[in-house]
């Protein structure tokens, strides 16, 4: 799996959403599934997929699909 596929898979499995919803405009709290509780599951799944532990500041900053890609660069994960 490419990093992008892993990243998308984290959203789909943790939030139980259709992959069609995934684009750079997807933001926290804009769909029912991505609420604060879903957010914790998402973070956990991203951590699993890339074997990282995210810092609290990054968990808080993860406000959109696009922002997540930017944050993961800090962890030396490049998503194209």
């Amino acid at each position: 799996m490419t990093n992008l596929e892993k990243y998308k898979s984290a959203f789909v499995s943790s939030l139980s959403i259709d992959a069609k919803l995934l684009d750079k405009n997807l933001e926290y709290n804009t769909i029912d599934e991505w609420d604060s509780i879903g957010h914790m599951s998402l973070v956990s799944e991203i951590e699993n997929q890339f074997t990282i532990t995210m810092e609290t500041d990054d968990i808080i900053d993860l406000s959109s699909f696009e922002k997540g890609i930017e944050i993961l660069k800090k962890y030396k994960i490049d998503i194209k």
Binding site: E33, S36, S44, T56, I59, I60
Partner: protein
């Protein structure tokens, strides 16, 4: 909304990780505090478990200094959610707001449970400004008359419904609390309440009816296996229905983390700590021991430490008959854990081992 509370985010993540590493079971992870801050109430509900309608201990409350101490201890234990309840706390806004300040709400998912009677726009805004994330309002029926009769006061349904709207407008999470027992689990009325909550974009919290307080020994009210299955079906269908027993992170809406006794302790206005709001078994007092010591004492009793997929107070008839049926038991006259459980139910527990 929770993401502006970094400490809360950290604790919530720790909780999620704990569940994942513990086969999805709550185990001995401390989760929350249900605090009866003051027992005075303006309504006279038939099912009240705190004896508010009898006027029991309505003048007592924990002072802000003690609250601050408990909050620090709770934070250290990783407790992330705190429900202030009564009585009816909006009767004494002075106590409520000084308590919220003492708690330092930026560390907790903070909520207030109210009957909504005294909620107005200013109060809702003030609650949000004090870091309250969620306000829970109990509704007994979509039929105004039924609710009012149950609550003992005409107009209470209209005020409760209005309160939920005001909470939402103030940017907090509105929770419509429903008490579900065998007598109403599959009723049309429950369906209507769930639908209403979903349509309004609220969350629904189900509290199962427990034979405690005014309903002591009435085990017929308890949900049975069929009712439980039905409630899970409703959970899957609506996706906005919560129970403390259910896994809040499960997007398949079927996992059960287990009974929350001791994981969510109940603190009374005189400082007694009970294993939960409905199991009136005392495990300590905040004036005598720290929250950590009290929790360790609670988890030393096997029935509280071992995972139960059923709510002990609302779904486990055996537990109710054996340990919750002593006459005269109440939140202000609880039985002591060391007296109600047999000796071989005790096995000293420590968080440090």
């Amino acid at each position: 909304m929770l993401l502006n509370k970094p400490r809360l985010v950290q604790k919530l993540k720790d909780f999620h990780t704990y569940l994942k590493n513990n086969d999805g079971k709550i185990g001995t992870k401390q989760r929350g505090i249900d605090m009866n801050l003051n027992n005075a109430c303006n309504l006279r509900c038939e099912h009240c478990f705190t004896e508010s309608p009898k006027g029991t201990r309505v003048k007592d409350f924990l002072p802000p200094e003690k609250i601050a101490e408990i909050a620090d201890q709770a934070d250290e234990l990783g407790i992330f959610e705190w429900d202030l309840q009564g009585g009816e706390l909006l009767l004494r806004p002075d106590i409520l707001f000084s308590t919220l300040k003492a708690i330092k709400t930026e560390r907790f998912y903070m909520y207030v449970t109210t009957n909504g009677w005294h909620m107005d726009e200013n109060t809702a805004k003030k609650l949000a400004d004090h870091g309250v994330n969620r306000v829970s309002v109990s509704i007994d029926s979509m039929d105004e008359k039924v609710h009012d009769e149950f609550r003992g006061k005409k107009g209470s349904w209209k005020r409760a419904m209005k309160a939920l709207d005001l909470v939402q407008k103030a940017g907090m999470h509105p929770y419509l609390n429903i008490t579900v027992g065998h007598y109403n689990a599959k009723s049309e009325d429950i369906k209507l309440m769930m639908k209403y909550s979903k349509d309004k974009n609220y969350k629904t919290l189900l509290n199962v009816a427990t034979p405690a307080g005014m309903w002591q020994n009435l085990t017929d009210i308890m949900v049975d296996e069929e009712d439980k299955k039905y409630l899970i079906e409703m959970r899957k269908e609506h996706k906005n229905i919560m129970r403390n027993l259910w896994d809040p992170f499960d997007k398949n809406y079927e996992s059960i983390i287990g009974c929350n006794t001791v994981n969510r302790v109940y603190i009374t206005p005189i400082g007694d700590v009970l294993s939960c709001p409905y199991v009136h078994i005392k495990i300590g007092n905040v004036y005598e021991n720290s929250l950590k010591e009290i929790s360790e004492h609670g988890f030393s009793f096997k029935r509280f430490r071992e995972n139960s997929q059923a709510c002990l107070a609302g779904e486990d008839v055996g537990f109710v008959k054996n340990f919750m049926s002593k006459k005269g038991t109440s939140i202000f006259n609880p039985v002591k854990a060391e007296e109600i459980f047999p000796e071989d139910h005790y096995d000293k527990f420590s968080f440090d081992n």
